[in-house]
Amino acid sequence: MSAEALSVTYKVRSGFLGSVHREIKPVDGVDLSVRAGEVLTVIGESGSGKSTLGFALLRLVKPSAGRVFFSGRDIGRLKSSELRALRRHMQIVFQDPYSSLDPRLHVKDIVSEPLIGSGMKDQGEIEARTARAISLVGLGPSAMSKYVHEFSGGQRQRIGIARAIVGDPKFVVLDEPTSNLDVSIQAQILNLLLDLQSGSGASYLFISHNMAVAQYLSDRIAVMYAGEIVERGTAKEVIDEPMHPYTKDLLSCVPTMDISKKVTDVKISGDPPSFTDLPSGCRYSSRCKYAFDLCREKRPALASAGGREVACFLYHKEEKDPGASPS
């Protein structure tokens, strides 16, 4: 799965009776590729555009620009019937296991839906695959003919995962699948996801705001801020030696077992910008303690530095305006 210069634009209305029309771009020119068999985590705060990016890759929202390739085919050019047949190979697990599963269907009907949707007709095969998916996620066969409300949050998320993996997908988007779960249940789901991924060799795009979870699950991490990827590298590079000032600030705010490291000492100011009111130049410049003139004038591109990719003028000296001096 890969994307080139992917953008998503939403129209928003504001003002008196929605008289003011504006466009916001929660995903703005993102290049991304998820390699075969890897887990890539997109980490970001609320409103960073990370979920929209996941939806756009699966064409659950229509990108306004850019192209998405899946197994070498441009999915923007596929007919809707072709796309539907492809769906079972690119799946998603949603954040909220309460609202994303149909309460009126039996679990077996929820889980088998991607197979039927992609045109599978053979009842025997559908049943066999469904039963296998349900057992893979650790639910008993009795779950098949129950309704979703009979399950706890953790078990519901297992049902959501079973639905995603039933068609042996090559690519799965996991949109914060554990953020509504208690820690002890989260541990069960994370281990389950790791086992399923290594067992199937599928690629996962994991969307998260939780650094510890991202670290535990990913091969590579992409940090997203205000619709852009600002840093991308192996999990170890990004977490052990963050380069972008935002990644550094973000990591310093994460509470850890080391309670002598106080997040309350961190002096990070302000909130992430609103998409209707983005700062000019680098989008982090309004909160960055290293920002200099160039940062407010020009948008830094994601370019290689220190073995990974960073979008920050601190590391791309050759791009620096000779007139600008670091403050």
């Binding site: 887990v39 705060e45 609320s46 208690d182 650094m211 535990y216 973000l250 509470p255 106080k262 997040v263």
Partner: protein, 344 residues
């Protein structure tokens, strides 16, 4: 230091269709002036019921038993209509979702002004008199409540917004809650606490809905409140690492009981109860391909169908016959470090 809050033998029972179920089963906890005590537990552990019982804000189908003394006054026995006199400058609460605790049709400035007025009202009650803090100057502070059109917010309200590091306090004061971001709303709630100068603050998952960068800011504000004003804070959370950032002592709750209580560092570094150990071991750490995180099997029990003996025994790998037969009680094992487990 004196105890600002003393909870002893607290039970909270909820009436259901068929029977009464106990969400909190015999909790003892004290919070001293200027101290932050964390209460950690998963959903259904009873931690929020403890918070609501302290504030006397339990829903109508719930009943508290035992004693909850706020500044020496028992809340459980207090008639409901009198409780409001203690809320505000006596005790105040911050909820997880600030939108539900702010009035959507009042401007931020009006709501903050209310806090100033409410504090002035409390000074009339002997028990809330502060000798060190002057009653805000000028005429009757009630005059500062804007009537009809929004009046300029009192200086104190703007200062409080500035204190909680809201970018442009004047602009934020003129807004309605829905026009603010989640982090700004939670900071308005904390600004309100600054204005009220409560003796006891109950914070129920105050940062759960916030991003980590905002969370760090809010935690540091709460710490400031306890340090500078001597506010006793009870910090309820599902996240033991967040609690570790602010609390001097931590209580771990499971199925309505405190199973472990001790200094934060001792509980985090040397957890004694198998549940606390499991909780800490299940926090993801390390990189992919490294050590697998341990998982606690099963799920927390339904309070309608609690197991006999220790409530954790069906999920505990150390469970013995005694654990299934005999209830546990908190025992002091190390200095100030208590655990309720038959292993010790």
């Amino acid at each position: 230091m004196t105890d600002a809050l003393k909870v002893s033998g607290l039970w909270v029972d909820y009436r259901t269709k068929s029977a009464w179920a106990s969400a909190v089963r015999g909790v003892d906890l004290t919070v001293r002036e200027g101290e932050v005590v964390g209460v950690v537990g998963e959903s259904g552990s009873g931690k929020s019921s403890v918070a609501l019982a302290i504030m006397k804000l339990l829903p109508a189908n719930a009943k508290a038993r035992g004693r909850v003394e706020v500044l020496g006054k028992d809340m459980v026995g207090l008639p409901g209509k009198d409780a409001h006199r203690y809320r505000g400058s006596g005790m105040t609460m911050i909820f997880q979702e600030p939108m539900t605790s702010l009035n959507p049709v009042m401007r931020v400035s009006e709501q903050l002004s209310e806090a100033v007025v409410s504090r002035a009202e409390h000074y009339k009650l002997e028990m809330f008199r502060y000798d060190s803090v002057a009653v805000p100057g000028g005429p009757d502070p009630r005059l500062s409540i804007p009537q009809g059109r929004p009046a300029p917010p009192p200086k104190e309200a703007i200062e409080a917004l500035h204190q909680v590091r809201i970018g442009d306090p004047e602009r934020a004061a003129a807004k309605y809650p829905h026009e603010l971001s989640g982090g700004e709303r939670q900071r308005v709630m904390i600004a309100m606490s600054f204005l009220l100068r409560p003796r006891v603050l109950v914070a129920d998952e105050p940062t759960t809905a916030l991003d980590v960068t905002t969370q760090a800011q809010v935690l540091s504000l709460l710490l400031g409140l306890s340090r500078d004003e001597g506010t006793a804070i009870i910090f309820v959370s599902h996240d033991i690492l967040v609690v570790g950032q602010v609390a001097q002592r931590v209580a771990v709750m499971y199925a309505g009981e405190i199973v472990e209580l001790g200094p934060t560092e001792a509980v985090l570094k040397n957890p004694l109860h198998p549940y606390t150990r499991g909780l800490i071991a299940s926090i993801p750490s390390g990189f992919k391909g490294g050590k697998r995180i341990e998982q606690i099997p099963g799920a927390p029990p339904d309070i309608m169908r609690l197991p006999s003996g220790c409530k954790f025994n069906p999920r505990c790998k150390f469970a013995m016959d005694r654990c299934r037969a005999e209830e546990t009680a908190l025992k002091e094992l190390e200095d100030d470090h208590f655990v309720a487990c038959h292993l010790y």
